[in-house]
């Protein structure tokens, strides 16, 4: 009887396992054997316009541990600390973590470190492959490129702006594995490969970018400035060939900013000062209110509301043409021209030239600048705004003004990326952004001619380049007080220009923050000349036939 019952129980269990609950046990078994492994995609690389790698991801090993399998946490920590360069106490805490089956010891170590850890042959310590981001040119264009986090997600700069393109799509491997983790050869196997991220090809020229950072660093150090910016742009396409951000160091030197810094060329604003006078003159010319030879009686001081505006050099009242007012960078003369334009029209031209809104570059953190609506202007605004005070712009916005003048009155949309390369290695060129007519070609050519005089006869003589005709404008603007109305005795010095003046190909801006001396024509113009000369040679623009360098 007992035997019969036992036999019946066995039979019942057999029927249950094989028939009634077969599906459930089958699924359970499969669940224990089947592993889904997420395959991380390769992040897209960043190249300059000639294909030099500026940012790329390379395989690395991440060291991890299973605390349950670690027999001697203190011993492991003591041996690993000098190799991984992590505090022994930190490692001990991780290796002793109760209930944990997975703890990171060090993410993304190099091959040499991984080999040294392997040689230690510590039980419970394992490796998992990951990829690590590298920037081979170090700090070159670092604030422009941006940075990624520990999990390769874009955190700033172009890495953030193009995160969706560059991240790629993860793949998946579904495989049956035995308890030792080995693949079961005849088992289930499904493989969906990861889709690599797309590569970016920038408009940046690595050689010119390097030269811009070098020249700017020298000027910042030489003139004791706090920092500097420089941008070079192709006026017909808006391609940014170089965008340099430089900071002063505590030891008196200077160098490029790291990738954790803001891209000040597009995020920070400053009062442009005299470089903005070209907008006032452009408005007057375009509206037919003046010609380049229209004369004004220009004193050296002018009272407006509760303020007296002065020229930078005392002089008797002179009959100066519009051309001379711009060439001499006369504040009073420009205010008189501005008064003829009027508040509403001046505001319209400032906005048409791109002030008060982002350039369309799409860069993270880009500033639209500061431009009050005309109804909010102060009584002194008709004195400040025409000469570039009372408004704030980014270096890129100001450069775009001059690019418009050099591009026959059409304002180009700046861009940093000229193409992407898809996962199959095919290049896809991106169309330049739309251009906007700001002034007529005739007005633009007239302005170019006057700006050329500003370099040959005016305040911008140090921007001259042997063999090339240059058109441009100096700027020396007082910095506003930080927590009060009014201006400090510190200055921003700048120079914006175009070359070759007879048919501009390139525009460039150089800005120095609090240099000594403070004049744009003295400190910024020479940097412009050096940088523009290099840029013209790189672009293969021949000099004029009558001179040699």
């Amino acid at each position: 009887m007992v035997l019969a019952l036992a036999f019946a129980a066995v039979v019942w269990r057999l029927v249950d396992v094989q028939a009634l609950s077969a599906a459930r046990f089958g699924d359970l078994g499969l669940e224990q054997r089947v592993r889904r492994v997420t395959l991380a995609p390769e992040r897209g690389a960043v190249f300059d316009r000639d294909g030099h790698e500026l940012g790329l991801s390379v395989p690395a090993q991440t060291v991890w541990a299973d605390p349950r399998a670690v027999t001697d946490p203190a011993g492991h920590a003591r041996r690993l600390a000098p190799v991984l360069e992590v505090e022994e106490a930190t490692l001990l805490e991780r290796l002793s973590k109760p209930g944990a089956a997975f703890v990171y010891l060090q993410r993304k170590v190099d091959d040499e470190t991984a080999a040294r850890v392997r040689d230690l042959a510590l039980p419970g310590v394992y490796f998992v492959p990951e990829s690590k981001r590298h920037y081979p040119a170090n700090t070159l264009a670092a604030p422009v490129l941006g940075l990624v986090g520990i999990d390769n997600e874009g955190l700033g700069g172009l890495e953030l702006q193009y995160e969706e393109l560059m991240a790629g799509r993860p793949g998946e491997l579904v495989v049956e594995r035995d308890p030792q983790g080995r693949d079961i050869p005849s088992g289930q196997r499904q493989y969906r490969p990861p889709a690599p991220g797309q590569d970016l090809i920038l408009t940046i020229d690595q050689a010119l970018q390097f030269e811009a950072e070098r020249a700017l660093s020298r000027a910042v150090a030489e003139h004791g400035a706090r920092g500097g910016l420089a941008i070079v742009m192709d006026v017909s396409t808006g391609d940014v060939l170089a965008m340099a951000n430089v900071q002063a160091w505590a030891d008196g030197g200077a160098g490029p900013e790291p990738n954790t810094a803001r891209n000040r060329a597009v995020t920070d604003v400053f009062e442009p000062g005299s470089t903005n006078k070209v907008v006032t003159v452009a408005a007057a010319l375009e509206e037919g209110l003046v010609t380049s030879e229209t004369a004004f009686a220009v004193p050296d001081r002018l009272a407006l509301a509760d303020h007296v505006f002065t020229d930078h050099k005392p002089h008797p009242t002179e009959q100066w043409t519009v051309r001379e007012i711009l060439t001499r960078s006369s504040n009073v003369g420009t205010i008189l021209i501005g008064q003829r334009v009027g508040r509403e029209r001046l505001d319209a031209y400032l906005r048409a030239f791109g002030f008060g809104r982002e350039t369309g570059l799409g860069f993270p953190g880009e500033s639209a600048g500061l431009l009050l609506a005309p109804e909010d202007w102060y009584p002194t605004s008709m004195g400040t705004v025409p000469i570039g005070n009372g408004l704030a712009v980014t270096a890129l916005q100001m450069l775009d003004v001059y690019a418009a003048i050099g591009n026959d009155g059409m304002r180009p949309q700046p861009r940093l990326v000229e193409a992407v390369v898809d996962e199959r290695g095919r290049r896809h060129d991106l169309d330049p952004g739309p251009q906007q007519r700001v002034v007529s070609g005739q007005t633009a050519r007239l302005l170019l001619d006057m700006l050329r005089d500003a370099v040959t006869d005016g305040t911008g003589t140090r921007a001259a380049i042997p063999g090339y005709a240059v058109a441009g404008k100096t700027g020396t603007a007082r910095k506003p007080l930080e927590n009060a109305r009014g201006y400090s005795d510190r200055h921003v010095a700048s120079f914006v220009g175009l070359a070759p003046a007879e048919n501009p190909r390139l525009a460039a801006i150089v800005v120095l923050d609090e240099p000594t001396p403070m004049y744009g024509g003295v400190v910024a113009a020479p940097v412009f000349a050096h940088l523009m000369h290099r840029a013209l040679r790189l672009e293969g623009v021949p000099p004029g036939p009558e001179t040699t360098g």
Binding site: G51, E53, V58, H134, L140, P185, S186, R537
Partner: protein, 141 residues
Amino acid sequence: MSPAAAVAEARAPRARAPHLRLVTALPRRRVRLAATLTVAVGLLAVFGLVGFHVFVVQTQIELERLEAEVVQEQEQFERLRLEVALLSSPDRVLGIARDELGMVEPDRVTYLAVRESLPGDESKPAARTWAEVKPHLVARR
């Protein structure tokens, strides 16, 4: 049994004997041959199945080994790519030019004006495709 009972039993109608048919016995040789063949085929099938399974497993192992090798080579390619980029960084090149080769930047640049046109002046250089700039990356993808 009494004589009378025996007589009675003898006289009682007997049950009909089942119809029996004489069956000729198969030759022993044929039976043995059939059995041997069956076993042989069975064994062949089993061994064949095992052999096929071994082949599949070996091929799978080889495939995984090759896949791992491909991954390894690709990773090595990426590392070398980084090394090339590091070696050609402008900072490094400038340092070598200045500090090791003693090169200096010129004070001035002299341009030579070529008055006569040269062969090829009229033709524009073809735009460089990505495949020309980075052929190894195109192939890799």
